[in-house]
Amino acid sequence: MTKEHAISREQMARRVAQDVFPGAVVNLGIGMPELVGNYFAASDEIIVHTENGIVGSGPIVDGPRQDFDLINAGRKTVSLACGGHFVDHVDSFALVRGGHLDITILGAFQVSASGDLANWSTGAQANLPSPGGAMDLVVGARSVFVMMNLFGKDQQARLVQQCTLPLTGDRVVKRLYTDFAVFELSGTIPTVLDLAPGTSLDALSRRLGLALQPAPAGIGNYSC
């Protein structure tokens, strides 16, 4: 475990996409989660929701076809999928909170072993606390997936026993996809679903300072 990232952002995105079922209504958060949409098969007709008002967003568009009235929540210019349409902010968040969103895929600063999520504030007032739609997404979506690097730039673990940063939601994260492993967070001890080549459960557990357990069906090979 000397490599900085055992799994690339693109590999992580491809792995997350495998867990999104055909016909699902999915919200992709700003940053790394946006990549997941690149690995959806068109025939699966996965409906990408953007909280600023698209139901059925297509891929990111650059160049002469870009239109700054057709953007996702991260202000990237996108296209509209066939069947895609626009809703206002009230309807967009009714879709989120009302239980009509199957999966939200978010980034995070910290996630706890029991699924608490911290992703809106670093705690420092000067860093402009900015919840955006994250708090609505975590209470509303049927499943919350998080994608993040397992260790910060300072090498501090970001999967922790207890979050030290202000929470976005408590016990909300179902799956955590990282650059070393994929975790299921359904109890108090994270379950490892997939491990990157060259990584062992014990070594990961030691580096995180956390108890981990293997998936009952065995740990999968996280290589994509």
Binding site: D69, D88, H89, P129
Partner: protein
């Protein structure tokens, strides 16, 4: 004969007084009423409370009013945005107040305000720092936070097309907060790319009823 078409943007904003609460449509650039913001800047009203998803980007949108020292308080969901330097500087200097509201809560508080409701109970933010000091209630087995309705003295909105009754159509994701903010202000002022004769908008495709609109500024006739 009803005619809400205003001669100029500066006429349209002339009743906005010092200390007013102004709802400003737009999300990360899309749907930001730049002409009306320019007119408000020229008009000179100050000590404003602005309600807007972001807190301005670069020297665009509400950042123009912030930079000119016209804003006492921002109510928004995502102040930390691309090139949000103007707000950041004023906030760190203690020159502007911030009320941070989750995005879906912001939309729903406006909807409540425009619909004659006193407020809403939302699961969003329950148990987080943003619920601190607020009334909470258990409904069934779930916790909810009371959020008061939000209204404005004025709203400034960008739409694609209007008729003289003020009926509106928007353009793609520029719709965002428009419908909710039109309802939530005592006086709604809308800038549009085009005005068409009454009866020419498809009745099935009118997104905001003209009942919620008081003034329309036709950008085609607006001399810069």
């Amino acid at each position: 004969m009803i005619n809400k078409i205003c001669d100029s943007a500066i006429d349209a904003v002339s009743d906005i007084s010092d200390g007013a609460t102004v709802l400003v449509g737009g999300f990360s650039g899309a749907g930001v009423p730049e002409t009306l913001i320019g007119a408000l800047l020229e008009h000179g009203a100050t000590d404003l409370t602005l309600v807007h998803n972001n807190a301005g980007n670069a020297l665009l949108g509400v950042a123009r009013l912030l930079a000119a020292g016209r804003v006492r308080k921002m109510i928004c969901s995502f102040p930390r945005s691309w090139e949000s330097d103007v707000f950041e500087r004023l906030y760190k200097q203690g020159k502007v107040e911030l009320e941070c509201v989750p995005q879906g809560t912001l939309a729903e508080r406006l909807r409540a305000g425009g619909s004659g409701l006193g407020g809403i109970f939302t699961p969003t933010g329950f148990g987080t720092d943003l619920a601190h000091g607020k009334e909470t209630r258990m409904i069934g087995d779930r916790g909810y936070v009371f959020e008061p309705a939000l209204t404005g003295d004025f709203s400034l909105i960008k739409a694609r097309r209007a008729d003289r009754w003020g009926n509106l159509q928007y353009r793609m994701t520029a719709r965002n907060f428009g419908p909710a903010m039109c309802m939530a202000a005592k006086t709604t002022i809308v800038e549009v790319d085009d005005v068409v004769p009454l009866g020419m908008l498809d009745p099935e495709s009118i997104v905001t009823s003209g009942v919620f609109v008081q003034s329309v500024v036709n950008l085609k006739k607006e001399t810069k």
